[in-house]
Subunit: 341 residues, 2 copies
């Protein structure tokens, strides 16, 4: 681990994207998203992703100049052809348009196809809730999750994020509909730690706790049949509204060479002036069960982590730190001097 | 168990509501909802509920004439004051208005307060998807679910239903965000069968498999921390948009005397003409895991059950069958003659 600071990481990330030809404004959007994941303690959605983005630009499957083409199917239904643009660039343009419309109509939906990995959905949810909108954000991905009762992956990890204004800090929850992420499976494989029973199947569809075997297999939906129902519903809803691909046909968030054909859907609702703080305080104060780690409000641990890391520094895996310097064209000496902790 | 038929059950239900002074059209809506739950094999949301509805009418906390008062906060944001009307009567009027608007705008939301128990959300989701709309339906309820890691109930069982047109039969999923329903806890208590570990806490917040103890305690969210995050998000979203009560302040779906202050939210989206049938067929055909009960598409078991029961009869618990006759003012002889199976 190297302890860096957010300003340095942002600068390195921007230099890396500038070298790849990304316009400065788009590079800022992309790096701010990845950096927020680092700050919140979600490195699987952080700067680790930068190399893939740059490879995809080099390979011509990301058009880093595109913000997407907007077409309104109705006054409150925006469809976006992302034109293979950077995920957060296309998403932010869509969100700004949808929010502006929701301000007039009360609600608007943006459905995006032909865009790239949208990253941590919570970033969008928190931003929109901070502006006074309630938001439901959905995104699909490569099939990594098996239907409940089945042997192989047919459904994406299909996350949902919900942001709600509360009268204080916005409420934000963000979760995949898989029991764990493929990133966590890879992390267990890397550390040679067994998986928890029930997390994964191997390539033949047999339950496994061997992370290496699971990498070629599939992940369970969270919460058994219910999480499966939810993940499948999101797969269908996003494909239907966005015109995106489905299931095993989805490509382009886990590789360097395929055009990305998943979809994103954002439902943006004009927020009501409701103070939800007292209820959230009651939940925080609920007596905790024996052996539990306390009663948490979703999103708050990440927010506390971010505050801490903005003050005290951001731990970055050595591999990521080194790669970031190489991508930025920074002197090898630079990252050696920045030093390890 | 008594084996009845849908026509007889509907007739008895309508007579019972007519005796309670419910206008014929509203009685049909209410009974069709309860009957659909019986047909789908969800008796906890079926005719069992009729007595409570009638008691609530008698006690003046349901106004069976109200269809709710509509106020548009924007062209696509409908707020409904239910005026203490019957849940499905107020919900259907709101849905019809929202769907008609979504046809023009692409999306509309209806947020309902001061209405009564909305019943099985899947009924609405399937109906709207059958008309070509994609729908997300949410409803809150009395606090029965403990936050993950906490000792007592602070959150409703907060179900979600999603309906999506597919080019064939609509996709419909409908689930509570609790691991089981309170109805299931009561059913286990009635049958003196222990609960599964992890389902419930007793009144002191200790894990229990004793269904009687759990009735005074709380139910776990499904899928641990993730289901908690989802249930809490729905609680906040519905309260915020509908102006409904929160957490332990919610009353009126489990008692005969309190004005009901939960909320319902329906997001209705103009459906896109996307054929999702091939993907659903692939999922149905996925090889099943060892020991699994097969790979099911959410909603399809209930639909098959309905087809079967419409042909071959509806099994009704003797208590419910008897009560239905009493409420309908039917001769005791009538239900004896209809006979048991």
């Amino acid at each position: 681990m190297t302890l860096s600071d957010a300003v340095t990481l942002r600068e390195l990330g921007l230099r890396a994207l500038a070298r790849a030809g990304v316009p400065a404004r788009h590079a800022e959007t992309q790096i701010d998203l990845l950096l927020d994941a680092e700050l919140r303690g979600v490195p699987s959605h952080g700067l680790l992703r930068l190399e893939r983005i740059i490879r995809r630009i080099e390979n011509g499957v990301i058009d880093c100049g595109s913000e997407g083409t907007h077409r309104w199917l109705g006054p409150a239904f925006l469809t976006v052809d992302g034109g293979n643009g950077l995920g957060p660039v296309v998403a932010n343009a869509a969100l700004d348009a949808a929010a502006s419309r929701a301000d007039e109509t009360g609600i608007a939906v943006a459905a995006i196809r032909n865009s790239n990995h949208v990253g941590m959905l919570g970033w969008y949810a928190e931003r929109m809730a901070g502006k006074g909108f309630t938001i439901i954000a959905l995104s699909t991905s490569e099939a990594l999750v098996h239907p409940w009762g089945a042997r192989r992956a047919m459904i994406g990890t299909n996350p949902i994020a919900i942001g709600i204004p509360t009268g204080g800090e916005p409420f934000m929850m963000d979760m995949a509909t898989s029991v764990v992420s493929m990133g966590e499976i890879h992390d267990h494989a890397h550390r040679k730690v067994p998986l928890q029973p029930g997390w994964a199947l191997d390539a033949e569809g047999r339950p496994t706790t061997d992370a290496e075997a699971a990498k070629a297999g599939s992940i369970a939906p969270f919460g058994q049949a219910k999480g499966y129902a939810l993940g499948l519903a999101f797969e269908l809803l996003v494909a239907s509204l966005a015109g995106a691909a489905l299931g095993r046909d989805i490509r382009g968030t886990l590789d360097d060479i395929e055009v990305c054909n998943k979809g994103d859907v954002f439902i943006v609702i004009k927020g009501q002036q409701r103070d939800l703080q007292a209820y959230l305080a009651d939940i925080r104060a609920t007596e905790q069960a024996d052996g539990s780690g306390g009663v948490l409000i979703p999103g708050e641990r990440g927010r506390a982590c971010r505050s801490d890391r903005l003050r005290n520094g951001v731990p970055v895996a050595d591999e990521v730190w080194k790669k970031l310097h190489i991508l930025a064209g920074a002197e090898a000496a630079a990252w050696r001097i920045s030093g390890g902790v």
